[in-house]
């Protein structure tokens, strides 16, 4: 900063304020604002190996929601002082300042880190890395809705890219009613094929 102002001036965004939200779920044939039907998921793009500096990483784009997740470890952690015969998982989710239409709104989602931890800890074989810690860091580049499910799926892919032993991939979808199980299994298939592609590309 130029040092002219002692405190940062208050600013506001000139964008027009959101209109009052229409009631949704009028009927099953209702078309959503982006042209999708009631049962349709957004087009998804998943790629592993996004970050060179990390042990494993993944980039996910679901419509307008863009997320990068890096996995570091298993490595020594200064926080864990006691001996433990199972490994530790450490998760952190943060937003860029430009992720939301209004600058700085991402700090409202502090609970995502612990929700990511709860989602992943059941699937990771913690006994395979005793005494050490696996760090999972997520950065939401653009928030287009349904952020936490995208972060969880992307984190799962990044853990697989890092070679951390897991019982299975964790997929996550946010849905209104009973479509959860179908959507999750479809997403799981997409993620598996992404990993197969990455593995065969690295063999060539």
């Amino acid at each position: 900063m130029s040092g002219k102002t002692a405190t940062a001036p208050t600013t506001y965004s000139p964008s027009p304020t959101q209109k009052k939200r229409q009631p949704i779920f009028k009927d099953v044939d209702w078309i959503r604002p982006d042209g999708r039907g009631f049962h349709q998921c957004r087009p998804a793009f998943l790629r592993t190996g996004a970050v060179n500096a990390a042990a494993g990483s993944a980039y996910a784009e679901f419509g307008n929601t863009k997320v990068i997740v890096s996995v570091f470890g298993p490595r020594e952690s200064k926080k864990a002082m006691m001996y433990s015969d199972i490994g530790r998982l450490n998760c952190n989710v943060s937003y860029t300042t430009f992720a939301t239409p209004v600058r700085g709104q991402g700090s409202d989602h502090k609970e995502f880190s612990s929700m990511l931890h709860k989602a992943l800890e059941g699937a990771i074989i913690l006994e395979s890395f005793p005494k050490t810690t696996v760090d999972v860091f997520a950065l939401v580049l653009e928030s287009g809705g349904s952020d936490l499910p995208v972060v969880i799926s992307c984190a799962s892919l990044a853990l697989a890219d890092a070679g951390i032993m897991m019982y299975d991939l964790v997929t996550s979808v946010s849905v209104a009613v009973e479509l959860c199980l179908d959507a999750c299994s479809k997403l799981g298939d997409v993620m598996r094929s992404c990993l197969k592609e990455a593995a065969s590309a690295s063999q060539e």
Partner: protein
Amino acid sequence: MGSSGASGDLSGEMEVDAFRRLFPLRFYERHLLESVRPDARPLGRARDTTVALGAVATADGSAMAKIGCTTMLAAIKLEVMTPPLDSSDEGSVAIDFHMPPICSPIVRPGRPAEVAPVVSKQLSDAIISSGMINLKELSLVSGKAAWMAYLDIYCLDADGALFDAALLAAVAAFSHLQIPAVTVNDDGRVVIMSGENEEEEESVMETPVTVVLDSSSRLVSLYKPGGPVLAYMSAVQDCVALTRQRVKELQKILSDAISDMEVD
């Protein structure tokens, strides 16, 4: 000579990767003797550099720059502020450089990287002192409203040359910036109407020197933060000559990126 002789004997037996980890200085010295870097680049050549404009759709101007593996994402968001009394017809620019935990194993959520505030300060100084941005263009209503441009640069992958990549991304984001058309509504509020060096090398180096030139090759800033190596005139002149060459390369990359955008 005894100790270097011992490491010399070992080098014949161990693998390249192990030698690189255990004796980094000797590893680089052996390459320097041949005037080449470990990835077979000659000393004067920079890593592959790419720039992509408009990477963030929700921002008023944005760009992603990559130098080798180092990736920077810069975005500018414009908000309205009341300008202070002593510069009532000028807007303002707030530059922030972030290194989120994803970019490097040395960054933890509670412990920010040491290098982040240094690069942040270097960037603001270079951008503001170069006069690249005319603050008067950011004024809306003299004395009442002006644009505050929040430039946020995020490092997505840290592999050395952080300042170079960040500056490139910042300049590209400003070149992509489009100031939206606004009017003042009845309440007096403004509303929008119905727009190289790799990490490992850097840890072994003792004194990095950074030179910033503008597009007409005039010197904008020279930064040499202490260090045990003294800067002789000839060394500084070599650095400036290398920078001049790099400016030409970068200008071409930037103008290619901009003309690709215009075709769309």
